[in-house]
């Protein structure tokens, strides 16, 4: 069909006939339609909102549970290092060879000696925060740990105090030398604190 044929056909077409009643109610119908055309039906909107809320709550619960569980596991790991559970488990696994256990950003590591050394000094728990780097170390008095790029020796005394000593480096609760501002150290003689707790009356 070309353009002339289309014009001829449209010229012959007649307007559909409507009743008077139809044309009488026509404006009212147009006005009602305009008023309701912008908003979706009320029932549909509530359902979607409820679904979204429930979904968000579920997501929140799941995320919260995962975070809580992960945090609890991390806390439990730290507690196990501090109270000596990790040490005992690894001592059983590597009898006489365990030098230190280190937990840092990359996970848990152990340092073992080449040959079994039967002598054991007091176990010591250390937390070393150097800038953004945080490490928890469980080792024995007389062993070396890395601190501020230096190998320093961990020593504990008869009263449960811990000191770190090295070339130009000393840390203890009473005195320090050669430490920077960003370095924070906490230390505890695990055997002493355990023995001390055992002697303390149970309240």
């Amino acid at each position: 069909m070309n353009s002339n044929e289309l014009d001829r056909m449209l010229g012959k077409a007649a307007v559909p006939e409507r009743s008077d009643a139809y044309w009488g109610s026509f404006p009212g119908r147009v006005v009602r339609r305009i008023e309701t055309a912008g908003a979706p039906p009320a029932r549909t909107r509530l359902w979607q909102l409820g679904f979204a809320s429930a979904f968000a709550a579920c997501c929140g619960l799941v995320i919260g549970f995962v975070l809580w569980h992960r945090n609890a596991r991390e806390l439990d790991d730290y507690a196990a290092m501090r109270d000596g559970r990790t040490l005992r488990a690894l001592e059983d696994q590597y009898p006489g060879r365990l030098q230190s256990i280190i937990r840092d950003a990359s996970g848990l590591h152990t340092q073992l000696s080449g040959d079994a050394a039967p002598a054991r000094s007091d176990p010591v728990w250390l937390e070393i925060e150097d800038g953004g780097d945080r490490r928890v170390v469980v080792t024995y008095s007389g062993q070396l740990v890395r601190c501020r790029g230096k190998d320093v020796m961990v020593l504990s005394d008869a009263g449960g105090q811990v000191i770190l000593v090295g070339d130009g480096f000393l840390w203890s609760r009473q005195a320090t030398s050669g430490l920077g501002n960003a370095l924070r150290i906490q230390a505890e003689d695990i055997s002493y604190s355990r023995a001390h707790q055992a002697r303390s009356p149970q309240l």
Partner: protein
């Protein structure tokens, strides 16, 4: 730091004597402490860790029932094996070192300077079990190190006892007190008293001459004064305080002609140390007046205020 230099001159015999006379307990080898140039400079001594270790050995020898390994032997081994505080040592290696020195305990350490403080850290390793412990003490770097060493010796002693499974010992402080009444009376009736202990002046020392002053067991640098004697006679002395002992400083006449000031244990006639008072300013310090006791050649009549102590005879180092 004259006191540090004196340690070399006066005390090797003291350690040996103590080692011979003490009952058998832990046999301790004290290695030279390490220092850095900064600490040495502040102390005014090259390798200050060496006299520090000697003083520590003397102090430990006074804590029963410990015995000491001769320091010269220990220093030889230290040269060979490079023993240091921050060098780890395997139990097997410690056992070998202990066997070669006939020592059951190995003590090494390091000195640090931190601001106006001198800090001494010591490592105590059992040559028998390989157990390692350590301790630290802090004091004023401008004061004599005697008091610091005494505190360290007691802490090291406690660690050794703990390593041996023994309860902590009660090494009681010694006491020292002045006396009044000079001999001969021409020297006046004023008291002979302790003016300062380890560089700390005693407040109202003359008025409180009869008050007992506590001293930790070990070597101490004390200044004794007698105002009635020429030039307000004042001398600095090093002497070794035994745990729980009571001492008095007294002005005495020796061999009927030489006035001297002595520290002696109360109830004993045996002086721990003696310093003679020249009869007149021009007098020389003279020859030894007791067998085995000598005067230091540096002491001159014109050097009245810089008195040198007389070496402590071996018999004075009882346990």
């Amino acid at each position: 730091m004259k006191a540090i230099r004196l340690v070399f001159l006066l005390f090797p015999a003291a350690v040996l004597a103590a080692a011979d006379s003490a009952p058998k307990g832990a046999s301790i080898a004290v290695f030279d402490f390490k220092t850095d140039w900064h600490t040495d400079f502040k102390l005014g001594v090259t390798d200050a860790g060496e006299p520090f270790a000697s003083l520590l050995a003397i102090d430990l020898s006074g804590l029963p029932p410990f015995t000491m390994v001769e320091r010269a032997e220990v220093q030889k081994e230290q040269e060979l094996r490079k023993v240091a505080l921050d060098s780890p040592m395997a139990p097997k290696e410690a056992a070998e070192l202990g066997a070669s020195l006939d020592a059951s305990v190995l003590v090494s350490g390091r000195l640090y300077k931190s601001g106006s403080d001198l800090i001494a850290a010591a490592k105590v390793m059992s040559a028998e079990t390989g157990q390692v412990s350590g301790t630290v003490v802090k004091g004023d770097i401008s004061k004599p190190m005697s008091e610091l060493v005494s505190r360290l010796a007691i802490q090291v002693g406690d660690i050794i006892r703990a390593q041996q499974g023994s309860p902590p010992a009660e090494w009681k402080s010694a006491m020292i007190v002045g006396t009044s009444g000079a001999v001969p009376p021409s020297a006046g009736d004023s008291p002979t008293y302790v003016e300062s202990i380890d560089g700390t002046k005693i407040a109202d020392a003359a008025a409180g001459w009869n008050q007992s002053r506590p001293l930790l067991p070990g070597v101490h640098e004390i200044v004794i004064k007698h105002e009635a004697l020429p030039n307000n006679f004042e001398r600095q002395l090093l002497f070794i305080a035994k745990p729980g002992a009571a001492y008095e400083v007294k002005c005495l006449l020796f061999q009927r002609q030489r006035l001297g000031i002595t520290i002696r244990e109360i109830g004993s006639d045996d002086p721990v140390t003696v310093i003679l008072v020249p009869p007149k300013a021009q007098d020389s310090w003279g020859a030894p007046f007791l067998p085995g006791w000598t005067f230091d050649s540096e002491a001159t009549p014109g050097n009245f205020q810089a008195g040198m102590p007389i070496p402590i005879p071996a018999s004075a180092h009882g346990k």
